[in-house]
Structure formats: structure tokens, C-alpha cells
Symmetry: C2
Subunit: 538 residues, 2 copies
């Protein structure tokens, strides 16, 4: 060993472990705290998503208030208040100031939050940029409520609660406020206003009030007086389950044998299905205890899952916006010339998890994005009804839109047309590509399903565009012919001796009949929408 070489013992003297909070203390950009505008939007995003989740789980119409005040140019005070079920006093600390804990991540239940990171991340970001705790108030509406300050111990990832007070006042809901530095308020595409506007678009059952730093108050009122169907906790579907998933479930199962384990742990597995599986999964003993399942056993069972027919997954675990609600919201907010929406059937993703794609296309009117160089095509991305404003370029939704050959649908250049594509993907588990949850990972099966949804709307758009175009052609032909009818009638009158007025009238009748605007056959012939789809989905 040369004099300046270092050996393993010396190097490994430095071996250490860090807490997840220490990790995010250094890497807060991974939580979405990168750039002043984005950081502020991230705070609002985390709190508002939690409020909507809480209200939905409790079964109440959300009334949410968001207030942003400017402390200085790059420091803001944020308060988000909801009318949800509240947070019990003994849980408030961990709920708001501990990372990787919560009520959501381990349940097969569709919610906006799914990681147990969001609110703790806000508390951490406040601590990093202002050194202050956040303030929380919560009550269940039954008598008193409480309030307190909460900080996060970065080294241990544990909450530090101070100033706990009982407030002798009826209050139902949760109000969280905090001061955040390295922030900027602006009304841009990535700012708080746009975030709230899009949240209102995808949550028409919520009423959301926003007070901006200049004092301007905007209320996005509830536009649908119907609660979205509350999602039910679900079991994973056998399709999409991997050997690892199966073993993980098996090793914590109490079931007496493999057969009952499969029936109890997965949806759509009946006694009849067990018989089918037994016939296909060669050599697997279905009578042994689930804990005794080996990796090769699990691989065989998974292979057998893929060989037999299954009923589609239950849809009641999913909470979609709904085609009608989506259409109403898009009409209200975008006011387009043409609109088309679709809600697809659930598909299965890895881990046996169903997901549903909803898509909409708005065209003409105020669709697209107005810029100095004209109107540009735009994509509005949502996951579990939460708007995604950042990292579009790595998102499966953007990729799906880009992969579509828009020319086939009458859109010559997506970037240069008055078109808005609206996509919401709903699932118990959305595979985000990062902890900041701003882009859906580009998994092939998800992109494929997104494309099918968007193309379904695009076909209807194409019919509309063709109709418009052929209407335009017919109109100009009609006008040309009508212009010559006077002369023609006079000429015919000379030949036939009939009165010119009579000839003109009957000629007009013939022309009007031919160019009747109700006649659609021309479009049908021109349309190659279906062919387009078949070729693309091959």
C-alpha cells in the first residue's frame, strides 16, 4: 500500500445512518421545494390535498379556505382551513410533523395523499427557511377544540409540540398555518391561483376560497351538489400481482391455508377460481400455510393468475370526477366551442391495483393557452383529482399526448391550435416518478391506457372538425351557385318560355335541398377516424 492510500478500516470509520428527515433537510428540492414559486405552490398543494381527503373520508362537502399573506418579498404566511373531521389531539403531532407516517399509505383506498410525507415536509420546509414551528387548530365540532405549535425534530423525525391550549369554542375541522421563506407569490401557470383554479375544476363538489397577498378574495363555488361516491377500501386484483407482492401478503396472513389466503386477500377470487388455479399452478400445495409459500410457489401462482379469466376489478374502490361533472366544469371554466369527455373502464396496474382514466378535449372558444404568438395547445394533468403543475415533460400524461398522431384527428399541430386536453388518472396507488408527486411515471401500460382515453375524445373532435370543414366547403359552393341562379333562370326562361321567377324559385329549391345543412353523409365518407385508431392502438 502506497503512503497516500487509505484502507477500508479508515474509510468505514465514517459509516453512519441518517433519518429520513435529515435526508429531506438536505434534499428538500425532492419534495417540490425548488424555486420560490414552486415552493409556495407545494405548501398549498400539500395542505389542500389533505383537507379534501379528510372531508371526503368523513363524508362532508369540503369548504376550504386558503389565505396567503406576504411577510416580505420572499417570505409568506399561509393558512389553510377546512371543515373536515379534525385531527385527534394525540395524533396531531405525527400527522403534521413526522415523515413517512399517516393514515393513508398502507390502505387500499384511493386518496390524494398516499405517502405520509406531505404535511411533515411543509413543517420541515418552514423550519429550514424560517426556524419557526407551524400552528395548528383542530376540533371535532363536539364542544371544545385545541390549538398548538408543532415543530419537527430533524434528527429523530419526531414532532415537538408546544403551547398546547384548549379553546372553549365549537370548531369542526382543521386549520394549519405557517410561515415559509424562499417563496414567491405570482399568478403564473405554476402559481397558487392556477393550482386552486384547477383544483376547483377537478373537485366541483368543493367550495374553495382564496385570499391572495394583495387582499383579493376569489371564491370558486361548489358547482355540483352531489358528493362524489366515497371510495371503498379494496383488495388487490390478482392480475398485476408479482411473486414478491404475493409473498409479502402471504407472510403476514392469518389464513389457515393458501386457498383461503388467496380468497381473503384478493378481490374476485372465489372457490371456483381456486379450483381453476389449482389445475394450472402445477405442483403448488394449496393446503399448506400461507407463510410456507416459497418464491417458486409464488411465481407459479402468479403465472396461473395470468392464465385464467377474471372479472374486471371492482370500481367502487375508485373515486372519479365523473364524465358529466367534468363536462360541466370544463364548460364553466374553459367555455369552448366543442367538448368531448370520456370515462374509461378500470384497468390493472402492477401490484393488482386498478386505475381509471378520464379524459376530455375542449376545442375552440377559450380552449388552449393564449400567448403573444397565438393560441397554443395545452395539457391539464390531474392525478386523483389533484392538479399536476410541474415536471410535465417527464409525465406519462404528456408522453401520451405527444405520442398521439394528432394529424389523424384533424389537428395539424397540437402546439398551435386552440385545444385543451384534460386528463385525470384515479387509483389507490398512483406511481409518481418523484416524492414531489408532480408527474406520473412513464410506465408502458399506463401510457397506453391514457392514449386510448384521449384518442376516444379525439375521434369525436375529428368528426366535429370534419363537419365544420365540409360545412364551410358546402357553404361556399352554395353561395357560388346562388350567385349564378339569376342569370341561369333568365337564360332558361328564354329557351323554355317559362317565367324567370318561377324557374329561379325551383332552381333555388333544388340547390337548397342539395346543400341542406342537416345532411351528414359527406362527413361519414370523409372520416377515417376508426381506421386511425386501429392503426394506432396496434
Amino acid at each position: 500500500m502506497a503512503a497516500d492510500e487509505k484502507n477500508a478500516e479508515e474509510i468505514f470509520k465514517e459509516f453512519k445512518e441518517q433519518s429520513i428527515t435529515q435526508f429531506f433537510r438536505k434534499n428538500s428540492q425532492m419534495l417540490g421545494y425548488s424555486g420560490k414559486v414552486r415552493s409556495l405552490t407545494t405548501v398549498i398543494h400539500e395542505y389542500v390535498a389533505n383537507s379534501l381527503d379528510a372531508c371526503e373520508e368523513a363524508g362532508v362537502f369540503p369548504d376550504i379556505s386558503v389565505e396567503v399573506k406576504e411577510i416580505s418579498e420572499s417570505r409568506h404566511h399561509v393558512t389553510v382551513t377546512d371543515n373536515g373531521p379534525g385531527i385527534p389531539q394525540k395524533h396531531i403531532g405525527k400527522a403534521l410533523a413526522s415523515i413517512l407516517s399517516g393514515t393513508k399509505f398502507h390502505r387500499y383506498l384511493q386518496q390524494r395523499g398516499q405517502q405520509g410525507i406531505g404535511a411533515g415536509g411543509c413543517t420541515l420546509f418552514s423550519a429550514i427557511t424560517t426556524g419557526k414551528p407551524i400552528h395548528a387548530r383542530s376540533g371535532t365540532g363536539k364542544g371544545s377544540s385545541f390549538e398548538c405549535d408543532i415543530a419537527i425534530d430533524i434528527k429523530t423525525n419526531k414532532p415537538l409540540i408546544t403551547n398546547m391550549k384548549t379553546v372553549l369554542e365549537d370548531f369542526r375541522g382543521t386549520s394549519v398555518s405557517g410561515e415559509f421563506g424562499d417563496t414567491k407569490y405570482e399568478r403564473s401557470d405554476h402559481g397558487v391561483f392556477e393550482y386552486i383554479k384547477r383544483t376547483a375544476l377537478s373537485n366541483p363538489h368543493a367550495s374553495i376560497r382564496l385570499v391572495e397577498p394583495d387582499g383579493k378574495e376569489t371564491v370558486f363555488p361548489r358547482s355540483v351538489n352531489e358528493m362524489p361516491k366515497r371510495p371503498k377500501q379494496t383488495k388487490p386484483h390478482p392480475l398485476g400481482i408479482s411473486a414478491r407482492d404475493l409473498l409479502d401478503f402471504a407472510h403476514i396472513a392469518d389464513s389457515k391455508n393458501v386457498s383461503s389466503f388467496l380468497m381473503e386477500s384478493f378481490s374476485r377470487v372465489s372457490a371456483a377460481k381456486i379450483d381453476e388455479l389449482k389445475a394450472v399452478a402445477d405442483g403448488v400445495n394449496f393446503d399448506k400455510r400461507p407463510r410456507e409459500l416459497t418464491w417458486p410457489d409464488a411465481e407459479k401462482v402468479v403465472e396461473a393468475f395470468g392464465k385464467i379469466k377474471w372479472i374486471a376489478p371492482e370500481t367502487d374502490s375508485l373515486s372519479v370526477i365523473g364524465a358529466k361533472q367534468m363536462e360541466t366544469a370544463m364548460l364553466n371554466i374553459i367555455n369552448p366551442q366543442f367538448i368531448s369527455v370520456t370515462e374509461r373502464k378500470p384497468k390493472i396496474f402492477k401490484g393488482g391495483i386498478p386505475f381509471v382514466v378520464e379524459a376530455g378535449i375542449a376545442y375552440g372558444g377559450d380552449a388552449g393557452k393564449k400567448t403573444e404568438e397565438g393560441t397554443k395547445g395545452t395539457i391539464m394533468r390531474f392525478a386523483n383529482k389533484v392538479p399536476l403543475l410541474f415536471d410535465g415533460s417527464v409525465c406519462a400524461i404528456t408522453e401520451a399526448v405527444n405520442q398521439i398522431q394528432w394529424k389523424r384527428y384533424g389537428i395539424r399541430d397540437f402546439g398551435d391550435e386552440p385545444i385543451s386536453v384534460f386528463v385525470n388518472i384515479s387509483s389507490v396507488y398512483i406511481p409518481y416518478n418523484g416524492i414531489g408527486k408532480q408527474a406520473v411515471s412513464q410506465e408502458a401500460e399506463i401510457i397506453e391506457e391514457l392514449k386510448l382515453g384521449i384518442m376516444e375524445c379525439a375521434r369525436k373532435l375529428q368528426i366535429h372538425i370534419n363537419k365544420q370543414r365540409s360545412m364551410h366547403v358546402r357553404e361556399s359552393r352554395y353561395k357560388t351557385i346562388m350567385r349564378y341562379i339569376g342569370q341561369l333562370s333568365a337564360d332558361l326562361s328564354e329557351i323554355t318560355g317559362e317565367e324567370p321567377v318561377k324557374i329561379e324559385e325551383s332552381l333555388k329549391k333544388i340547390v337548397e335541398n342539395k346543400y341542406d345543412m342537416g345532411n351528414d353523409t359527406a362527413d361519414e365518407e370523409e372520416s377515417d377516424a376508426d381506421t386511425g385508431l386501429l392503426e394506432e392502438s396496434d
Copy 2:
């Protein structure tokens, strides 16, 4: 409360915590395990980066061997072997099968790894997709070595070691092998071959051998016989330090007072600087114990840091590729017509952390990327000499390239020219935008510095392009004139009576003199490179 409402107590019965391994078990795409090709490249990337780090820290020239074997179409066996210092037996488990632990993340030392996640992530990915442990062998070259199997306990984030054996054979280094499913081997832009090729490009002091699944062996030989300067552990620079950073350091410091704490904890802080700080940081008591510093104190000290002059950060904490090495490597691998490289001076990022940008532009020859539609401009991104192959669209380096007005530098359309931009950013801490470490977060100060580096090379490129273009213009003028000289000589001969051959010769001399290719004045006049830079960097 309505019959179907749920109260907080019911909801919070579900409150739970999860380990970081459980989190990544569900979200492995966040570690880079998304898509079959990317997943395989991620495994290679983690192991190779660790090997290079280990060799560099120990001060040995890296000899690395990477073998990929196909088990089935979507399952591969990977072995990465290095000649580094080895891993002590008592640390092997945590080093390879525990997340958020390691020798790197807590030191102010530039290394490729900085999170304590990579190798543990590979072990987890192997467990998820194959149910198998990884296999490791390590030795310090002093007598025996050992080997064992290592798995990761997902619930507790602890290593599980089995089959530990002492091998009575001299072996110095570490060899890790494992089986990984949901993988695909291909020679694409995102595949293992490209990753290794680029690693060789940015680490000319390493010898890397790759054996592909078809048995093909490629050796990228050491092209520089000089060890890169070993980076020194450093202290943060006062510039870029936030109040939070200062307090975090203060609260763990043993120094007897604030003055000595500042001198001991940060670089470039001398007794003279303390006097300057005291004069500016109004009301801060520099004699109290560092633990007694308050947030307002810290804010004042940070403000004072910004008001006084500092010597630039020490560069010996940074390990760059080196302009000469970069040029050699680019010439070898890209073989361009023109090349220009630059190594910038260190700048300071958040947290007082210095970083250095190295940039290079290759033009013509094999620069750019050959496609069916012609040669396209291409960006080769590196962070701490590690190639970044994914998520380019959200990377600060790509953003910097896109923000440059290439037309000013003679490049009409970056996408359509034979140009390769090569950028390496070196720092103790690279702010990646995700845990998969494939893109540098788009922080304004980093993008700015990246642009300055690239534009420095672009100015030289512009001079080259202008020279080429005016050379081309002169050449065609020369040819045109030469074409008419015969006729002109005959005409002049008739008028003057001089012999046509003599006239032709002297005319040729005049023309050749005028169009001498060594004459450069024309370019100088045409170039507006400097103006371009000033306008852009405003």
C-alpha cells in the same frame, strides 16, 4: 353528524408509520427502477459509481469489470468487481443492504454517491423482482477475503446476512453480484453500454471492462496515467449559508464561543474576518456559546456574511475531470472537426457549498447524434463525473443549453447540427431533483453558471464557424476568378502585346495573394461573439 359520516377517531385508528425501505418497496420507480432498460442501467450505475468512489478514496487507479448475463428475456445477472479498498466484514451488510446509511452523505467530500441509498436500492430491487439476496465478496488484499449473501429486511431496513464464508485467497476489492428481474439489455442511448462508454469518457483514469449478455467483451482502457487530485474534506464557505444551516452547525458545535465556532466550522473565516463581521452583525453577542445562538442572531450573521468580502472557496475539495483530460477523451471518443473546452472557477451554492462547471463543445466529424433524419445536436450530461442518461428534460444542464441563443454562435438550429455539448458539474453536494439522481435541479444560480461555461466554449466555436464560412466564400470567389483568368490574359495580351502566359502567371499571383488562406482579418470583422455574450449574460 349524518349516518354515513366518519369521525376523526375512526379515521385515525389507521394511523401508522412505515420504514424508508417499505416506502421504496412501493415506490421503486423513484429510485430509477422504472422501465426495463432503465432499471438495468440503474443497477450498473449504482455499483460502478460506488466502485469508482472507493478506488478514488483509497487512492488507487480503478480497474472495474462489469458483466451482464441474460437469465431470461427480462431477467439478468449482474457482477461488478473493483480493485478498491474492500468493505470490512462488519460493515458489509449495512453498506449493501440498508437505506440511508453509508460513509458519504454526512461528509463535506466530493463523491459520486451522496445519499446512502444506491446499493441498498439494488438489493431491494433484486428482492422485489427475484426474491433473491445479492452476493458479495470483499477483501483488503491482506490474506483472506470473505463472501456472503445479503438480503434486506423491508420492514426494519436492516441487512440479513447468510452463508458468510472466509475465502483463503488474496483478493483486494469488492465484487457484488445479483439477479434482477423486470430488466432488458439493449444497446440504446439509455442502455448499459452507453452508460459505461460515457463513464469512461468522464473517468479517463479508470479502466473499465464490459461483458455483454452475448459474450462480447469491450475494454475501455485507461487513457490518462495520472490520478485525479483526491478531493479533500472541506468546510462550508460562509456565502450560501442560511440561518438554518448556521444554527444546525452551532447547535452541535463544541467551540467555546460564537467567534471560535465560526472560525472552526467555516472556511475562509479568520480572526480579522470575525472583527469585520462583529462590526456589521449588529447586536449579536460573539462571546456567547454557539448553542445559545437564536434564529434572529443567525439571520443577522448570515446577512453580515453577505456584506463583507470573501476569498473564493478552496478548490481542493473538488475533483474535476480537467480541461486537458476532457479534451483528450472527447477527441478519442467523438473525433470531431472542432473542439473547445473550459473549466470554470468555483462558485457557491446554497449551504456554502462550492461547485465547478466544466464544459466542452465538439463540432463536425462524429459530433452530434447520427439518426435517419440526419445528425442531431446532443447533450452529454455528467455530475461528479457520473453520466446522467435519464430525465434530461427536467435537468438544469438541458435547460442551460436550451436557454442559449445558439444563432448568435453560428448554430442555426441546435437540434439539427453536428454538435455535442459536454457538461460536468462537480460538487460536494449536487442538488439532484430526485432520488434516482438523473437530473440536476433547476436552481437559478446553477443554470446561470452552466450557461456561462457553455457560452465560453460557444464563442470559440463561433470563431471557428465564421472562419470556415468566410474561407468557403473566399474559396468560391477564388475559383470563379481563376476560371476567367485565361480569357482575361488573352484579351490583355491583344491590347498590350505581352505574352498571354506571362500575363496569366502574374494575374494568378495577384489573385492567390489576395485570397491567401492564412489571412484572417475578414473573420475578426464579422465576429460579434463578445457582444453576444454581454447581451445574454445581462
